[in-house]
Structure formats: C-alpha cells, structure tokens
Amino acid sequence: MTLELKTIAPSELHAEMLRLKTERKMDFLVNLIGMDWGEEGLGVIYMLESTETGETVNLKTITDDRQNPYIPTVSDLWQIANIYEREVYDFFGIIFLNHPDMRRIFLREDWVGYPLRKDDRTELLNKLRMTDVPLSDTTKEYFLTPDGKITEKTNTVWKGDEYVVNVGPQHPSTHGVLHMRASLDGEVVKKVGLVLGYIHRGVEKISENLTYPQLLALTDRLDYFSAMQNRHALCMCIEKALEMEVSPRVQYIRTIMDELQRVASHLVYYACMAMDTGALTAFFYTFREREEICKIFEDNFGGRVIQNYNTIGGVMYDIQPDFVEEVKKVSANIRKRFHEYQDIFTGNVIAQNRMVGVGTISREDAISLGTTGPVGRASGWNNDVRRRHPYALYDKVEFKDIIRTEGDTNARHWNRMEEILESLNIIDQLIDNIPAGEYQAKRKPIIKLPEGSFYQAVESSRGELGVFIESKGDKTPYRVHYRSSSLPLANAMDTACRGQKFADLIAIGASMDFVIPDIDR
C-alpha cells in the first residue's frame, strides 16, 4: 500500500509537470511535500490528481546539492504551489527557481537554518530573540540565466505608497492569529498577503521524535474543529501501512463521529460567519446546539474539543449505552432549529446583500488553488474525498453531493448549511445499525511501520486533510506531513478578495472558515 513515487531529475521536472498538466489533465496539486532524504539529498514529493478522470500521479525529485539546492518551480502551473513551495523553502531551504516570492512563510525572516532538515541545529543557531524584525516589503526571485548561472532579482510585494492595513495577528475576526496584510484603496481591497506562523508548533518536526501512538495526540490540535477526522486520517494511514483491519463496529463509530464532528464544525462556522458580519445574536444560536454535540463527545470520550478518541486499530472507548438515543435527540433538535438560523441571519436582506456575489472564485481557480471542501464545492468542483477515495463506510452510505456553481460567499455558506443536514442523514442511516464487535483490534505493544511512504486523506470539515508518513521501519516516522485543509483556503483569500470591500474581506474570510492551527501546524 505504499505510495509509488516516480523519480524525475530537477532539470526535467518542469517540462514533465507541464506535460502532465496539459496532456493528462492533472489539474489538482494535492500535495507538495519537502523531504530530506539524508545522503540522497533534498527533494520534493508532488502528488497530482486529475479532477476529470480521478487518476493520481505521484512524483519525486531529488537534488543532491545540500548547500544550494535548486528545483524549478511549478507555481506557474498550479497557484497553490506558490505557498507550498514557500513552505518547503522555509523548512528545507530548497530554492525554487522562477518562484516569484521566495520569502520565509512560517518562520521569522531572520531565522537561521532550515529546521526540518535532519542535520539542522535549530536550537543552537536560533537563540530566543527579544526584538522584532519588521516585515520586509520586498522579496527575492531566483532564476537560471541562459548560460546556466543562478541569479537573483528583487521583487516588490508592497509598494511604499500603498495603504497596507494589517488584519491580525490580533484581530477579532481572524479566528486566531492569522495575519493578513490588505492593501486598501479607500474601502476597496487591492491585494491580500498572508503572514503565517504565529502559532506554528512544528508538529511535523515533533512527530519525527514520537512513536506512532504518541503521534496521535498531536492531530487533535491541528484543526481543532475537525479533531475527529484528523485523527481518523492518521489512524487510517498507520493501519494502512500495518495492513491492519478494523472491525465493522469501529468503522461505524468512526463514521458517525466524523459526521457529528462535521456538524459541530459547521455550526461553529455559522456562528463565526454571523459574528463576522455583525450578527452577534445568531452566533449564540448554533453554539447552543453545538453544546449538545459537545456533551455527547464529552460523555463518550471525555473531551469536548480535544477528544483523543481514535486509536491505531480502533477507538479508545466503546460508545456509551445511551449514545444512540442522544445522537438521535441532537439530530432531531438541530433539524427543528435549522430554520431559525436562516430566519435570523441568512434569510434577511442585509445578510443576503453581504453574501450574494461577493468573493467569487471560479472553478478553475478553485482547482488551481486547491480549495477543497465546501469552498471548492461552492465553485462547482466536486472534490469530496468521501466520494473520490471512499474510506470507512462512505462507500456504503448514501449521501448527496452538495455542489453549487456560483462560487461566492453565499454558495459557500449554503453548502455548509446543507452539509449539516446531509451529515445528519448519514448519521441517521448508520446510527441504528451499529454492529456488535470489538472496539479495539489487537496490536503489538511497539508499533513499527514497514519501510515506505504512505498517504491517507479524509474529508475533514474544511476539505481534504491528508496524512503523509515516510517510514524507515523504525518506531518513529522518518517524516510526517499533514496536508492542511485550511492553508489553501487562506491562500485563496487574495483571489477572492481583490476588488471587494474591506468589510467583505472579513466576510469572505469567515466563509472560507479556515482554522489557524491547521494552517500553522
């Protein structure tokens, strides 16, 4: 079940990528993972998928020059590669040729070294700094001259006379510590830039020193509104590597919990959307119902947000005896209350005017930007992982694909609202038929994954969340990478916000529904 990776030399990479994109219609760059293979050199893994045929292609490229690793950029082919490549540059020091914006993205600009390299001495080189560095307004671009030399030029990101407003890192509506720099012309947004990393915890680096069971504790803290799905993804990835089967009971429990989590997450989304557009009262309406879901979570796993529920080969605890009854009660209550959400907020003319036709993302842009989940589906791109690569019980249950084509804030909002009902439908199909069986498969005391690369994606509340594990056969992974579902969404802000009003920036941000710890990992 390991991932097959075709190796391509950096010099041929761009041509091959172009061929894949144009000839084989590989228009969705799922993942771009920086790797340090030690002796072999530094490299990048590309995971491509075609939205038309559903084919996938996985490639890797290695450069053995550790001092000056150069790899051509693919950011001209897929917009999302722009931010992925900056991430790889930040952590591995791989310089992407012709990339227009080679700045650090998560770390401070005066950071020394590249922390995800295996030979990096991060703690020695980076003492705690007590001073601030101003954000630079310029960036470097590296490119190859015809005579084979690497040269650099300076690009200007923010001009001196631009009215740049810092939205964040402390701002009521960035849902955490996202820092957006918005260039304004009066009230109109001209450009949005992201400054990330304010709560970067280096989960991927920490993971390299943890055993597999220990890894699980960190996933809940990535996208805390999709905690269940994150952990599900990691557990499935490890189970896939171990070729471990989980019992049908576990599959049922996991699927129901995933959907409950999705409902809870979308309810929070509604609350945030309402609050960001100024309807504070509506905020409390969904929190009221979410509280009931949280109560179920608390009774069953002992945690409301950080649940620690899925384990390798099963789940931590069996469901409580009253679980079925409680879920039905909550499901009925949400359906009953559902119209209230529309009555107080979306139904009214002010909210309609704030949402319809605002922040449009076209289908092409959505695919190129990799905005999976409800955001992508609002642009007419059916990207549901549950449909594309069914896992758990999603090939057995019936559910509707919720797709809109407008691509605006309203479509994104209504996609999520309908997904609440659709998730409840899935739960209703499963809740009465939970089979008996064990809730935890037998497993060895020390878990070692076989050598190879493994990838497993789930549909989290915000889109495709993937877990990539590279194993060398040890107790600890060699490299863990999470495909963040929120990073592409935050990255899409620039596309969606250009030409909109400043107030729309906040509303669009809310409709993207990104979770910052998931971006910063």
């Binding site: 703690e123 280096g202 680096k205 920490i206 020193n209 943890l210 069971p213 220990q214 890894l215 699980l216 504790a217 960190l218 009262t281 409390f284 309406y285 009221r288 509280e291 608390e298 009774d299 069953n300 796993f301 002992g302 945690g303 950080i306 620690n308 384990t311 099963g314 931590m316 605890y317 069996d318 409580q320 209230e340 009555d343 107080i344 907020f345 139904g347 009214n348 003319v349 002010i350 309609q352 005017n353 319809v356 064990e438 935890q440 498969a441 037998k442 497993r443 060895k444 005391p445 600890t476």
Partner: protein, 204 residues
C-alpha cells in the same frame, strides 16, 4: 436582488427583516443556556472518561500497584511523567525495582490517556477533579505516590481490571497483550530503553 422592482425589493426586505425580529424576540423569552459555575458544582456530572488529573489509587493499607516499570514514562509524548525507582534485594535474593517517587506534571500533560493504557498493572488512572488551577507553577508538579506507600504485594502479575473503570469502558485489549508479552522481560528491557526517550525528545 437585481431582478426585483424597487418597491418589490423594499417589500421583500421588510418582510425578511420582520422574520428576523420575530425570531429574535421569540428566543428573548426562551430558556437561557448559561450554566452558572461554581453554583452548579453539585449538578456537574462527569463520566470516568473525563480526564482531568492523573492519580495513583492507593488502598487502605497505603499500597499502590505501581511496579516502577517506566512504561508510562516512555509512553508519554510530553515527558510529563518522571518515575524514580531504586533497586532493592528481596529476602529470597531477587533484585526488584521499587517506586521511590512518581512525579506528574499536569502543566505539560496532554491528557492523551497513553500512560493509562500503557500501564500493565492498572496502577494509574485519570480522575475527575477538574479544579486544577493554582497560583504557582511549581504546584503543577504532583507526586502521585503517597508518602510511605509501597507496592501492593502480588503473587503473580495478573490481568486485572482497572479500578474505578468498568470492564466495558476500559481499554483492555492492548493492555492485556502488553502485560502478557512484557511480563517477564519487562523490567530489564525497559530500564535499558528508559533513557532513550529522554534523549530523543528535544521539544519542551
């Protein structure tokens, strides 16, 4: 909204705004959801799955079940458990490890339950005491074994159900296999391994 006439638009707008007002005034007179802590302390309910603070249960003879194997310390992703042990010689000449101090730093704990599931003896469990706020950081480091306590004498290591947790809820399967596999060689191999996680874990 462009397909509507000027007055039609006004009418629709007024209608939708009235619905909003109606909904909010309805909720105005509804039940308030606020829970008033600490007044509601008595009515707060927790299941044994709620994890708030690690505890080492002692019986009435001031005995615990910990055999100082260090598995919990190894399982902990955050180094929040430090087991200090000493080796003593028993009367029949066998060397045996004994727990001296079981330190638990709740300030670092992620409540992931790995230590509890790793324990072959069922010696530790999470309790439901949630009021853990203190004024001094050093108070977050708790010593779990009571002063003067010692390990419960057992003829053989047996697979015992965890105290306080019902068999249905406790995660028995991996634990059972763990204790079977590790019973005999456990103390030796684990002591050899014990230094390893401390070295490899660089993060705080």
């Amino acid at each position: 909204m462009n397909d509507k006439t000027y007055f039609g638009g006004i009418l629709d707008a007024v209608k939708s705004l009235t619905i909003g007002l109606k909904t909010s005034i309805k909720v105005f007179f509804e039940h308030h959801e606020t829970e008033q802590y600490p007044e509601n302390r008595a009515t707060l309910t927790f299941t044994d799955r709620n994890r708030f603070c690690l505890e080492m249960p002692h019986n009435e003879k001031n005995e615990h079940k910990c055999i100082a194997c260090g598995l919990c310390q190894m399982a902990c992703p955050n180094d929040s458990i430090t087991v200090t042990s000493e080796t003593v010689t028993t009367e029949d000449g066998k060397k045996k490890k004994q727990l001296v101090k079981y330190e638990y730093n709740i300030g670092q704990c992620m409540f992931c339950n790995l230590c509890v599931t790793a324990c072959p003896q069922g010696a530790i469990l999470f309790n439901q005491e949630f009021e853990q706020a203190v004024f001094d950081k050093s108070k977050l480091i708790k010593v779990l074994n009571h002063p003067g306590s010692k390990c419960q004498e057992r003829p053989k290591p047996v697979v015992s159900p965890k105290p306080a947790a019902t068999p249905a809820t406790a995660n028995e399967a991996p634990k059972a296999s763990l204790s079977h596999v590790d019973t005999a060689p456990a103390p030796k191999t684990e002591t050899a391994d014990k230094t390893e996680p401390i070295e490899t874990k660089k993060e705080d």
